[in-house]
């Protein structure tokens, strides 16, 4: 018996009871479409997180002060130390010992109420140097970024992110306008292009000013604190070398011989990416596993129906055996029937799942809530199809074997 004949018999058997076949298939269809959809959502979340992390800047390495220790050695929390200085930044920018570091910038953070006219808004103010857009991968939409002279002269100028502009200015052109940060006047000289992304803290909710101005007018009593140094490696491939170079320079400058005692710590874009990826992979797996349960339920449905079918068609099995069907002919017939059921259900389930994944972003409530755009991966499609056929095989074996073992005389006598 060849495959064509086997498929023809299976089709004949399945078409004999269309409603039942369709309902059984529905079980697998729902399971597979759930797997496809949920894995697509998980993948979409991965892509979203990746994009966000990438948008933080290419090849970026963050240097944070270590947790400050109080007199009794009590940790005062992440990033509370004050071990980083402008001299460290200058050393990292010298490029003598660190050829793989493209640029390093100091960051001083300050919170504060921002007002323009009668509008007010809250956003963190970042004090830094002219390399900021380059290192953090920001483009200017309007105006210009501040210069080294602005830094030297502590000019009170700011460049705003799109979110800040939207909240303070509405339709007014912000360039040349004066805003107040913690009651200090700053002139707007530029606006960043939108970076998009939500979740990990919007990249568009920023106010950037010369670090000297932030120190002079905003951080007040805390003095010239550098809360972090951001460095960019020359390429993605040199991030590890750049990290080693930065560590060496800073250990030397801080006169620390044991790296375990370092008063600073490094985190690369890659580290963040790895963490985010492992979280989203776990998320995808959990979603897929939950949907997988419904696939198993669908498989049990197939087994149930195949058992009913075998009992109903006992006489037919007897006839087939009488005219020469061997055990494996009968086994194959019912196995293929089960696999056609599950395979067809799987294929339709893939179509439905993919359709839902494609249509989901069009639901406005989802789109505005920052729900990730589902990404249907070809791997999940192929895998879902293979798994559904395998489910037919697995859950079909018992009923098919039962059919194959029927004794021809008893089967023929069955009414």
């Amino acid at each position: 018996m060849n495959l064509y004949e086997a498929l023809r018999m299976a089709a004949n058997g399945l078409l004999g009871n269309r409603t039942r076949s369709a309902l059984t298939m529905l079980g697998i269809l729902i399971g597979v479409s759930a797997v496809i959809l949920l894995v697509a959502v998980g993948n979409g979340a991965s892509v979203q997180i990746n994009n966000q992390v990438q948008s933080l800047g290419a090849n970026v390495i963050y240097v944070y002060p270590s947790n400050a220790r109080g007199s009794g050695g009590v940790s005062q929390g992440f990033g509370t130390g004050q071990s980083l200085t402008q001299a460290d930044v200058d050393a990292l920018n010298s490029k003598q010992q660190d050829p793989d570091v493209l640029a390093a910038i100091p960051i001083a953070q300050s919170g504060g109420q921002i007002t323009y006219g009668n509008q007010n808004y809250f956003a963190p103010t970042t004090g830094t140097t002219p390399d900021f857009p380059h290192v953090r991968n920001y483009q200017l939409a309007e105006g210009s970024f501040f210069s080294a002279d602005d830094v030297t002269a502590r000019h009170r100028v700011v460049v705003l992110g799109q979110t800040v502009v939207d909240n303070l200015f509405g339709t007014t052109d912000p360039i040349g306008q004066t805003i107040k940060i913690s009651r200090q006047s700053f002139r707007v000289i530029g606006v960043f292009a939108q970076k998009g992304g939500t979740g990990l803290g919007s990249q568009d909710n920023v106010v950037v000013a010369p670090i000297t101005a932030v120190w002079a007018y905003l951080t007040g009593a805390r003095g010239k604190v550098i809360s972090q140094i951001v460095a960019s490696a020359s390429s993605a491939g040199t991030v590890t070398q750049a990290e080693t170079e930065i560590t060496t320079i800073l250990l030397e400058r801080h006169q620390i011989s044991d790296p375990a005692q370092a008063d600073f710590q490094l985190q690369s874009q890659q580290d963040i990416l790895n963490q985010a990826t492992s979280i989203s992979t776990a998320l995808t797996l959990v979603l897929g596993a939950i949907a997988g349960i419904s696939l198993v339920v669908g498989g049990i449905g197939i087994m149930n129906i195949m058992l009913v079918t075998v009992t109903e068609r006992t006489r037919e099995i007897g006839i087939r055996k009488a005219i020469g069907a061997r055990r494996r002919d009968i086994l194959m017939q019912f196995l293929i029937e089960a696999m056609v059921l599950s395979g067809l259900g799987g294929a339709l389930g893939i179509a439905v799942g993919a359709l839902l994944a494609l249509e989901a972003p069009k639901i406005s409530a989802l789109a505005t809530s920052g729900f990730p755009t589902p990404v249907v991966s070809p791997t999940s499609v192929v895998l879902a199809f293979c798994v559904s056929v395998a489910i037919g095989l697995f859950f079909g074996i018992y009923p098919a074997n039962r059919a194959a073992r029927l004794h021809p005389i008893e089967a023929l006598r069955y009414e």
Binding site: M1, L15, G16, R315, K321, A322, I323, G324, I409, L412
Partner: protein, 225 residues
């Protein structure tokens, strides 16, 4: 063609052993048309099952077309049924929702033989159903269904045709039609036919009548035509 030597068959019903056949010796030669008669419980169904290789004897030998089939396994018996035996049942036993043509093709499919469609059409033509090939069993009369079943039995060109009460479900005229068809196949194609029946009228079509009672052959006559 068929030789049975000391064939017995005993069924076990729990602890009790029920003897169905108690030593049958029978020889059917090529081209014979034998009717096996007997009341219900005489063992004729058991004999039919053994002749049809659906069951094996408890003791004794059964040689079919030079093959000793008494000791064969399930799949080998299936092969013998496929190649050497053509079944015709009382209740036709066509596969439902399947056209007459596909039903007749079925033994060839299991045999893995080629030229199926043309051979099946030919067999259906031989029983006068050339214009009904694409009809399903439910669209055929009883007599037509039984003729389709005869076509299915003949399509593999088997050594014997086993007909178990082939007219049991048919009215008189259809019964006559079927019996004439079997007689013609025996006369024109020298088909070896073993017919099981309890009706004398039907048995009269055969050239030889074997009567069973309590699992033994009690009469073996050649019919005068």
């Amino acid at each position: 063609m068929i030789t049975l030597e000391g064939v017995t068959k005993t069924y076990r019903m729990g602890r009790i052993e029920v003897p169905a056949l108690q030593g049958i010796d029978l020889h059917v030669g090529r081209g014979e048309f034998v009717a096996i008669m007997g009341a219900s419980g005489s063992g004729k169904s058991t004999l039919m099952n053994i002749l049809g290789c659906l069951d094996v004897p408890t003791t004794g030998r059964y040689i079919l077309d030079d093959t000793d089939v008494a000791m064969l396994g399930d799949d080998q018996l299936a092969r013998i049924r496929n190649k050497k035996i053509g079944f015709v049942f009382q209740s036709y036993n066509l596969i439902p929702r399947t056209t007459a043509l596909h039903n007749v093709e079925m033994p060839l499919i299991y045999a893995g033989e080629g030229g199926r469609t043309s051979r099946a059409r030919e067999a259906l033509g031989a029983v006068g159903l050339a214009d009904r090939v694409n009809h399903q069993p439910t669209e055929l009369s009883g007599g037509q269904q039984q003729r389709a079943a005869i076509a299915r039995a003949l399509v593999t060109n088997p050594a014997i045709l086993l007909a178990d009460e082939p007219t049991g479900n048919l009215d008189t005229s259809s019964s006559l039609e079927i019996m004439r068809l079997l007689s013609r196949l025996n006369a024109e194609q020298s088909r070896t036919i073993v017919l099981i029946t309890h009706e004398l009228d039907i048995a009269r079509f055969a050239s030889r009548v074997v009567e069973l009672r309590d699992g033994r052959i009690v009469r073996d006559d050649t019919n005068a035509k």
